[in-house]
């Protein structure tokens, strides 16, 4: 057995229905949620497990994912255009404040890089502390060639509590206002037009009670 034969055998099993677990197909809404990266990781894993073992659901997933990716690419290209003049202006002011604040509040040892690769992407805002209950605006520096950015906020236990995918270098996820006081970490991953990923370091964020 080698990997090529293994793939062929698996493809045959999926095609014949032998790989799919007994029971119902997952719902089209669950497949759409998977393609959009919505829902908890456990839910998406369960959906993905079925989708990748079921010939029919996989075709539906690929169709929905094609639509998602088309949007990301088109909005990313549009966002890239805007970034050339808008974001530097917006960031200039933020940069001056945020770099100063971060130098005061973030110790060098606080940053942890998540998952290797380069850290050419710098997190700018919020600083190390913010008030729980407010909507948070996350700002980072642009990565060369980036077509989209994924923001993740993790709680003290390392679970992802907030995730957002945006074409720009600013995100104000409304759900951030629902985060309770506590210790968090956040980071950003950029995907470039040639499918490379650029990751920021991980920055701590303390949400204090109002």
């Amino acid at each position: 057995m080698n990997e090529e034969r293994l793939r062929r055998a698996y493809a045959a099993a999926v095609e014949s229905g032998a790989a799919a677990p007994a029971g119902e197909h997952v719902t089209p809404e669950a497949i759409a949620g998977l393609a959009r990266r919505e829902g908890s990781e456990a839910e998406r894993l369960a959906t993905l497990d079925h989708v990748m073992s079921c010939h029919e659901c996989r075709a539906e997933f690929d169709l929905l994912r094609s639509i998602e990716e088309a949007r990301t690419q088109l909005e990313g290209a549009k966002g890239g255009g805007r970034r050339t003049w808008l974001v530097p202006v917006a960031l200039a002011a933020t940069l001056l404040i945020a770099v100063g604040v971060s130098r005061m509040l973030v110790r060098p040892g606080d940053d942890l890089t998540r998952g290797g690769e380069t850290s050419a992407l710098t997190l700018l805002q919020p600083g190390a502390q913010a008030v729980a209950g407010d909507s948070l605006t996350f700002v980072w520096s642009p990565a060369p060639g980036a077509r989209k950015y994924a923001l993740e906020v993790l709680d003290a236990g390392g679970s992802v509590v907030l995730m957002a995918e945006v074409p720009d270098t600013v995100a104000t996820p409304s759900v951030s206002a629902g985060l309770p006081p506590g210790e968090y970490k956040w980071w950003v991953r950029a995907t470039t037009s040639d499918a490379r990923t650029v990751r920021s370091a991980m920055r701590p964020l303390r949400l204090t009670p109002r």
Binding site: M1, E3, L6, A9, Y10, L34, L45, L63, A70, R189
Partner: protein
Amino acid sequence: MTLPETGQHLSLALEAVVTRFGAMVRQVARRYRLDEADVEEVMQEVRIRLWRARETSEQIGEVSTSYVYRTASTAALDVIRRRRSRRAEHHQSVDEKGAGDIAAPVAGPHGDLEASELGAQVAGAIATIPESRRPAVRMYLAGYPREEIAELMGWTEGKTRNLLYRGLADLRARLTDLGIGWQQAEGAS
């Protein structure tokens, strides 16, 4: 399905947005080896919905990519639901015909039988992999690159590599237990 009568076409501006969006969907869909007819069905549905959405085509000329995306997304879900419903009806009518009317499966050449047996063994072995690793292994065997698994699940490259490496190791161990040996040590890394 076709658009309503001539003279009720989409505006040039809207047509440009739809065409650009459709071209991008087709480009991605080709990568997934999707049937082009699937994409065409959705894009045709998108045109009809956009045409119906406003009274005049001039008004919809101002829509953005995100509006077309939302329309395409709901149109695709409806297309999927319709197909599932048709499949269910078909299965029901086959059931009603009774087993006697259905042709018995024809045994294929020896190679096909062997491949199908191996496929069943591989599928059975994958089913025993821990749940956290299994979807990544399935996706990898289905031909998706590691970067795409990471992107879809929002995992770091390191986490993806780790889950995949361990999942494939589990799979090899299960297959070895079934008497299926490996020519060489291979991995996803």
